[in-house]
Symmetry: C2
Subunit: 310 residues, 2 copies
Amino acid sequence: MINELCKKIKALKAPVVVGLDPMLRYVPGHIRKKAFAEYGETLEGAAEAIWQFNKGIVDAVWDLIPAVKPQIAMYEQFGIPGLAAFQKTVSYCKSKGLIVIGDIKRGDIGSTSAAYAAGHLGKVTVGSRRIAPFEEDFVTVNPYLGTDGVKPFVEVCREEKKGIFVLVKTSNPSSGEFQNRLTEGRPLYELVGEMVDRWGQEHMGDAYSYVGAVVGATYPEEGKVLRKLMPKTFILVPGYGAQGGKGADLVHYFHDDGLGAIVNSSRGIIAAYQQEQYAAFGEEGYADASRQAVKAMIADLNSALDNAFS
Amino acid sequence: MINELCKKIKALKAPVVVGLDPMLRYVPGHIRKKAFAEYGETLEGAAEAIWQFNKGIVDAVWDLIPAVKPQIAMYEQFGIPGLAAFQKTVSYCKSKGLIVIGDIKRGDIGSTSAAYAAGHLGKVTVGSRRIAPFEEDFVTVNPYLGTDGVKPFVEVCREEKKGIFVLVKTSNPSSGEFQNRLTEGRPLYELVGEMVDRWGQEHMGDAYSYVGAVVGATYPEEGKVLRKLMPKTFILVPGYGAQGGKGADLVHYFHDDGLGAIVNSSRGIIAAYQQEQYAAFGEEGYADASRQAVKAMIADLNSALDNAFS
């Protein structure tokens, strides 16, 4: 799947992933109204609203991008109906040929991580049958529990030819509190990065390993160091746009062939119509606004990469 | 809710939580058979099997214990039907008067943690309505993202009078890989412990804060240090029994009034009938075996506490 991701990024010249993190306040009034009319102001109504919202965006942008990254929390907050909308979103995106990165940030002791890995990337055994419950292509993983919390994911990746992105340096303001602590003279995120590199070495695709890393766009200096420390690691970069990252800051997350990283934008794309710049699209044109925002993001990244590596 | 937990532990003289982490291989044949006959070898069939298994155990042990801790991964692996069984288990346990600790180990950037907190401990807004999706009383939280990944949970705890347990030193073999790294001369888990203490100070119940900590039974020396470092923090102790912890090793997780910690056992209780010691109960008597195992665990802990503090 990591080979597939590289191929798609190259073909589309778009190292971009759209974060499908729908909040109800991003959903245009007419979609909310219709969903609530049908299902009431219930969890089912909220789930229907975010699903229809997602569908509109996916239909508008699928041909421009290699991948989407639904953030499961935005669905899980609406309980079982919300999680069903997550699953529907994953399936729909896959039917459109998109690679799906489930942003689930799971991680637990070994047997428990194994259950998450089976549920999201692999298959569970029920009697004589093997069933794939959620079927994402990649998921994000929290490394705080160490190797035996991560390994079960890696094992499933090997069997299923799927991948993970391990949190190394996250994009949020307080990520440094623990991640930047100096341990033996070096920040913790470097040690986590080295482990990611090591976990990946035995699980290689053609040019990159199945074990990727999450490094926030908001910490470009750290990104530069980590790129060197993890040469075969694909980097998922959240925090572009609304969280503050810009294309020019991100060139060091890439190798000079323009591969090695994929940049996520969520709010900046899916709620583009709520920004001044795209306001002319209006609520009804929210999906077209998202398409414009995707194009602008791809252009920004490509121009930065062209400047840096040509 | 932390006051409620203390009260119940005292009343029952049982600082014990039963981990409802059902794997299909723990579920007696007759329950699996019935579920599969009704729903087929499907996710629905698996979910029905673990729900019926849970119900049997809860009915057998609810009067002995203050709390249960369902591990959501064991449900999530069976997709949407599995998660519906999680929710049903939470509701059923609450209807029996049990406190429910959702072992979800979530943690993300601020707005995303807020969604998890709303979904599991609080309420989401849908149109003009506020709805509580999962309604656990406590959840476990991963601190790798720092304060702004934890605070949204704490805010919801304050509003809803609920609580969290933050991973400090986990019970698994490789937990030391990052958690024990020396940072400024001290292991990382101590710094996390200090932060837990700090997060909790503004959110106090009567004697303990809303912000608890997870410290594995398998690391009693670390437990001893952390108990002192976090005097007002309630400690959730996983890893008793099947993972290796014993009552006598755990007295230093407690204060000398016998409060301050609650010890979890999962497999050792729910799959007791599969152990030699309780084999006489047979598959049909699995719930009675669990009851016996709970009684033995309570006796072990109380005798250890009596020895230590009398």
